[in-house]
């Protein structure tokens, strides 16, 4: 649905300072009906990539392709919803006016817009504030309003730049649930984050940028399985106390047998499963994932 082909972006500052390469030959694809996480530390090039995708800045080399969304910019962008990082709004407008504004730009009739607002505003917990001026919104409320305005025209592809930043833990959970709900309706979601656990929770696929270069593109399950460690943790009950031991996989069967022979009640056997965070950041000197 969205394809980056060899994108390079060089920012030229002025004649006295060296130009800066934000992205170098980055290629990846966001397939239809998937939730894809776009990971990387601050400054890795995520926001620059998304700005290129939205045509805010031109790439120095390469091209972005939208597959199956149309042939003209207007056709494509009427099926794309974009939420920028820390979205800004017109402070004197109310939340409802802003939603009607951006919705009408997408050619959605006002009657349908009102229905969409009625359906989604309570889910975003922003319905109570829709008639207030945006200048009175908190950071979290701005993020929720931004999210609502992003999906107001029922887009096929939703691109979110750090959608969960500035939201409290409960709010993060709610927004993640909404992303899952949107995906279940057949939409494609591509969202950037520097918080890996958020991506791990809801994404099937992950794209990882490091210093402007693509370092990993693939399924979340695949990378985790590939990095499984040959250790298991056995939890058991002895003398009314829960205890655990870590054993090598090769010794697992023998240890379980021995515990059973000693009439020990085994509670669980779990293979050690690394988190994405451990894979990407704790092995940051190792580029082999």
């Amino acid at each position: 649905m969205l394809k980056f082909n060899n994108i390079t972006k060089v920012f030229d500052t002025d004649i006295f300072t060296k130009s800066f390469t934000a992205l170098e030959k980055v290629s990846f694809e966001v397939e239809k009906n998937t939730v894809v996480g776009f990971l990387g530390a601050n400054g890795a090039g995520k926001t620059s990539s998304l700005k290129i995708a939205m045509e805010f800045i031109p790439p120095s080399k390469g091209e972005v392709e939208y597959i199956g969304l149309g042939s003209t910019r207007k056709e494509i962008f009427s099926k794309v919803g974009y939420l920028p990082e820390r979205p800004y709004f017109y402070p004197s407008l109310t939340g409802r006016e802003f939603c009607l504004y951006v919705g009408s730009l997408c050619d959605v009739p006002s009657k349908i817009l009102k229905e969409v607002i009625l359906k989604w505003a309570p889910k975003f917990r922003i319905d109570f504030a829709l008639d207030r001026q945006i200048r009175n919104y908190s950071k979290g409320m701005l993020q929720r309003l931004g999210f609502l305005s992003t999906i107001i025209h029922d887009p096929e592809l939703i691109i979110l730049d750090e959608p969960l930043s500035g939201v409290d833990p409960l709010g993060r959970k709610e927004l993640k649930d909404i992303i899952v709900e949107i995906h279940q309706q057949g939409k494609t979601v591509f969202f950037s984050s520097h918080i890996i656990s958020d991506v791990e929770d809801i994404c099937e696929k992950v794209i990882f940028l490091k210093e402007g270069k693509l370092h990993y593109e693939g399924k979340v399950d695949m990378i985790i399985n590939k990095n499984l460690k040959p250790f298991s943790t056995i939890r058991y009950m002895r003398n009314d106390q829960v205890e655990s031991i870590e054993v090598k996989d090769s010794e697992k069967q023998a240890t379980i047998k021995e515990l059973i022979e000693h009439n020990v009640n085994i509670i669980s056997v779990n293979q050690h499963k690394p988190t994405l965070e451990e894979i990407f950041y704790k092995t940051k000197n190792d580029d082999r994932y």
């Binding site: 700005k51 939205m54 805010f56 800045i57 820390r86 979205p87 017109y90 504004y101």
Partner: protein
Amino acid sequence: MIDIKKILIISRFTLMEILKSKILYNILFLGLGLVVITFVAHQFTYGAPQRVAIDFGLGALSLSSIAIAIFFGANLLKKEIESRTIYMIISRPVSRVEFILGKLLGLIGVLTMNISILASLSLLVYFISGGNFDSLIGWQIFFIFLEAIVVLLVITLLSLLTNQVLSILFTIFLYISGYAIHEVSSLSFVLNRVWLQKAINLYDFVLPGFYRFNLKDHILYESNIGGANLAATLSYSFVYSLALLLIIAYLFKRKSLD
């Protein structure tokens, strides 16, 4: 292909946003204050109070319109880009040209409202003080409107090329010199030097000649101005505004919004 509907939507919400901001009211109060001063001044004038009334009234109208054009024009794109509100709009099926045309049209709507209100008040004071109907006053009000549009386009263009403060300073400079150039061209010092005349003609051709929009002398001294002159000013404002619009659209289409 430009979608007029999108331009109108953007202009409507731009107008709404500006009308809800308190800054506009400050400028309107300033204009109203000047009208009050007009009323007071004409009360103390011996001879031709209606002339003082219309002179002050048109001055107030011109000043407040130029102030709105400069103040809001300097912010029109700069603020959108710096505050990144523009991302929320042009990520929709809206072209950059439609966006800029919509923003400008919204601000022209604000200018229209300002001019309508202040012109009505000025005319009221003028007629109360015994002024007679003169079609030139109507033309002058319309020309103030056209002049404000040119100022708006000049500052929008400059704001794409430089920072906010410099764009305001350059526009004020161009506005003043756009009047002064006419006076300067009739000085004998200039008339005696061909190269200076050519330089002034070139300036007049390239940079805005705001003196063309000024009919106040004709109104005050009740001298006649031909229809051809009025048509020439109309054509000038149309062609000049169109040229500025094309340059603005070209630059904005290529502007990197990072």
